[in-house]
C-alpha cells in the first residue's frame, strides 16, 4: 500500500506547491492523478519516487518510508518520467541492462521479461539500436520495458500516454490492468481524462496544490449527486470542480 500522509512541499518562499496531501493507493489499485498544469502533480510524483526532498508529512510504501529507508523503498518502485530523453547514446538493450543491473535482476529473468514486453511493444528488432535513432514513442516504450523488468510493487508514471501510438497505448493499458490483477499498485498522472475514467479504479484531482477530490469515480459521482446522469463524465466533474462549467 502507498500512503501519502500530510504531505506538503514548498518551493522558494512560503508558497506551497503541494499542501497537506493525503491519499492511499492500495494493492491492485490504478490511481489516476489529475490536475491542471502547475497544480502539483509532477512535484508529488517526484517526491513519491524519492527524487525531491519535502518538508512535511511522509510517504510510505508497504510500511517503508521514503525518507527513512529510501533504498529499500526505491527497490519496490519504478518510475517512468514524462520526458524519456535520457542516455540517447546507449542502445535500448544497454539501457535496459543498466536499469536491470541496478535493480539486481538476474540474467535469465531479465531476458524472459524483456523478451515478453519487447514483443508486446514491437521493440524486439530495435533493442540493439541506439536510442538516439528512436522516435519519442519508441523511447517511451524502452523506458516502460526497463521500468517493468524488476516487477515493481508500485509503478509511477508521469503522463505515460503522451507520444505512444494507439497500439502501444492499448498495450500499456493492458499491461497496467494485468499488473493490477497481480497486486501491483499504479499511480499515474494524465491529462487524458477518458482514459483515466476507463482505466482507473480511483482518481484524485489536485488544484493549486490541494487535493480537492479523491476516491472511486462512481462513489464521487454519488457524492456529487450525479448518479442519475449517465453521460456525466470525469471531464464534466473536472471542469465543474474547476469552476469552468
Amino acid at each position: 500500500m502507498l500512503e501519502i500522509k500530510n504531505f506538503s512541499k514548498s518551493y522558494k518562499g512560503d508558497k506551497k506547491a503541494v499542501d497537506n496531501l493525503n491519499l492511499v493507493v492500495e494493492d491492485g489499485d490504478i490511481f489516476g492523478f489529475i490536475g491542471f498544469n502547475g497544480a502539483g502533480k509532477t512535484t508529488t510524483i517526484k517526491c513519491v519516487v524519492g527524487i525531491l526532498d519535502f518538508e512535511e508529512g511522509d510517504i510510505m510504501l508497504d510500511g517503508i518510508s521514503v525518507r527513512e529507508n529510501s533504498i529499500e523503498y526505491k527497490k519496490r518502485i519504478s518510475y517512468i518520467p514524462d520526458n524519456p530523453d535520457i542516455y540517447t547514446y546507449l542502445t535500448g538493450e544497454q539501457y535496459i541492462n543498466f536499469v536491470a543491473g541496478i535493480y539486481g535482476v538476474e540474467k535469465e529473468e531479465r531476458e524472459k521479461t524483456v523478451y515478453n514486453y519487447a514483443q508486446m511493444f514491437d521493440m524486439t528488432e530495435h533493442l540493439d539500436e541506439l536510442i538516439e535513432s528512436y522516435s519519442h514513442g519508441m523511447r517511451q516504450k524502452i523506458c516502460i520495458i526497463a521500468a517493468l523488468v524488476h516487477k515493481p510493487s508500485l509503478l509511477v508514471l508521469d503522463e505515460p500516454f503522451v507520444g505512444l501510438d494507439p497500439k502501444a497505448s492499448h498495450t500499456l493499458k493492458t499491461i497496467m490492468k494485468d499488473l493490477c490483477k497481480q497486486g501491483t499498485k499504479i499511480f499515474f498522472s494524465t491529462h487524458v481524462l477518458p482514459v483515466a475514467e476507463k482505466l482507473c479504479n480511483k482518481i484524485g484531482i489536485i488544484k493549486e496544490g490541494k487535493l480537492i477530490v479523491s476516491g472511486d469515480f462512481e462513489e464521487i459521482k454519488r457524492r456529487y449527486n450525479k448518479t442519475n446522469a449517465d453521460d456525466y463524465s470525469l471531464e464534466d466533474l473536472f471542469l465543474e470542480l474547476d469552476g469552468s462549467l
Binding site: K74, I77, L90, T91, I96, G104
Partner: protein
Amino acid sequence: MMKGNSVMNDKFYNLKSIIKINYLNLFSYNKMKMEKEPEKQREYRKRFRQSILAYPILFISMFLMFMGAGMVMKLNGNGKMILAFSLTAGTLMTLFSSLFASSRGLFAGLDNDLLLSMPIKTSDIVISKLFLQYTYNLIFDAIISVAATIVYFIYNGIDLIVLLSMAILTLIIPILPVMIGTLIGILLSKITSKLKRKNIITILFSFIVLFGYIYFMQQSIASDDYVNSGLFKLISSSIITKIFIKALDFDIISILLVIGVNALSGILTVMFITKIYKRLITMLTSGAVTKHKRSYKSDSGSQTKVLYKQEVKRYFASPTYVMNTFIGAVMAIVVPVMIFFGRDGVGSIRDEMGADILASVMAPVLGFLVCAMISMACTTSSSISLEGKQLWLKKSLPIKAMDIFNAKILLNLTITIPTAIISSTLICISMCNNVFDIISIYLMTITYSVMSAHFGLYENIKRPKLDWTNEQEVIKQGTPILITMFGLTFASVLLFAILLFLCLELWMKPTVAGYMFVIIYSVATFVLRKWLKDKGAEKFRKI
C-alpha cells in the same frame, strides 16, 4: 536476443555501472561502436578520430612551451622545477575549470531524476559524477605532465624514480582542486539561489578569481627577474610545489602526504555533498520554477535581432559557457595591457633595437598572439551542440539557416571584435609608429576574429553533439571546441611562422606577413561563409 550481464554480489556494482554508462559517452565511443548503419558508423568513427586528434595538438603546444621554459630552468640549476611547475599549473587549471563546471555537473545532469528514483545510494551518484569531472581534468593534466616529463628527460636524462613519482602525482593531484572547485561552486549556487540575477553574479565572481590568477601571472611576466617574482615565485615557493619537488625525489612522506590530502578531500567532499544532495537538487529545481513566474514581456524587432537577443540570453544563462569563452577575450587583452603599462621597458628595447624593427617585428607577432587568444573566445564552436534536444525548435522556424548562423556569429563577434580593437589599440600605442603597421595590426586581429567565428560554426555543424547530459561536455570537452582552440591556433602559428620566414628571406618588412595573413584569412572566411550558406545549411537541416 538481448545480452544480459549477470548481476554480481558486488558492493560497488551500482557505482561501477553508472561510471561505465558515463564513460560510454566519452568521445561518442558507444555510438561509434554500436551504430549499425554504415554511413552513420563512418561518421561516428571519423568524429572519434578527430576528437582524439585534438589531444596530440594540445600535447605538442605544451611540449613546445615546456621546451623553452625547461631550458631556462635547467640553466638556473633546477631542472625538476619544470615538473613541479607542470603539476602546480595543472592543479590551478583544474581548480579553475572545476569552479562551476563540477557543481553544474553534479546538479544539472539530465539523468539525475532517473538515478535518484532508483535504489542507488546518493553517495554512489555523487562519486560517479565527481569521478567524471576528475576524468575530464585528468586527461588534460596527464597531457601537461607527459609533455613536462619528456622535456625533463631531454634536458636531464631518463630517471625511473621521477617517472614513477610523476605517474602517481598526475593521477592523484586533480582530486583536491576538483573537490575545492565543486564546493566553491555549491557555495555560490546556494548564495545566488536567492538572488534574481544569479548567473551574472556567478560570472562576476568567476572573473574576480580569474583576475587574481592573471594578476600573479602578470607579475611574473612583467618583472625583469621573473624567476623571483609573481606566479613563478608563488608556484616555486609555495608549499605545494615544495612538496611536489620532494615527492618527485620519491620522498615517501611527501608522496603519502599528497595522496592523503587528496584522498581525504575526496572522502570529506563526497560525505558532505551526499548529505545535502537532494536538498540542493530541490533548491535548484525551485529556482527553475520561480523563473516562469515572470510576467510576459513582448519582444519585437527583426528576425536577426530576435535571434541575436536569444543567443545573448542563452550565453549569459550559462556561467560555464561564459567562463570558457570570455577567458580567451581576457587573455587577449592581458598581454597588450602589460605591454602598454610597461612602455618604459618597451622604450629601452626600442632604443636598443630601433623603433622600426620593434614595430615591424614585435607588433605583428603580438597581433598574432592576440589572434591565438581570440581562438579561445570562440562561442560558435559549441553553439549548435548547446541547442541540444531543442534544436528542432530553431529548425522548425520559418527562417533561413543562414539567419540562425548569423546570429551565432554575431554573438561571437560581440565578444571578439571589441577585444581585437582594444588589444590592437594598446599594441599600436605601445609599438607602432606608422600607419602601415597600425592598419596591419587592426586588420589581423579583426580578420582573425571573423574567421574564427565562422570556423567554429563550421566545426560545430560538421560535428554536433546534441545528446549531452551536461552542457560542459560540449562547452569544455567538445571536439569542435578543441579543434578550434588548439587546431586552428596551431595551424595559424605554422602559417604565420612560414609567412614571417618568407618575408625575412625575401628582405621584406615583417609587417607584410601580417597583410598576407589578412588576405589568406579573408579568403578563408569567404570560403567558410559560402560553405555555411550552401552545404552548412543542408547539413544543419539533416542534424
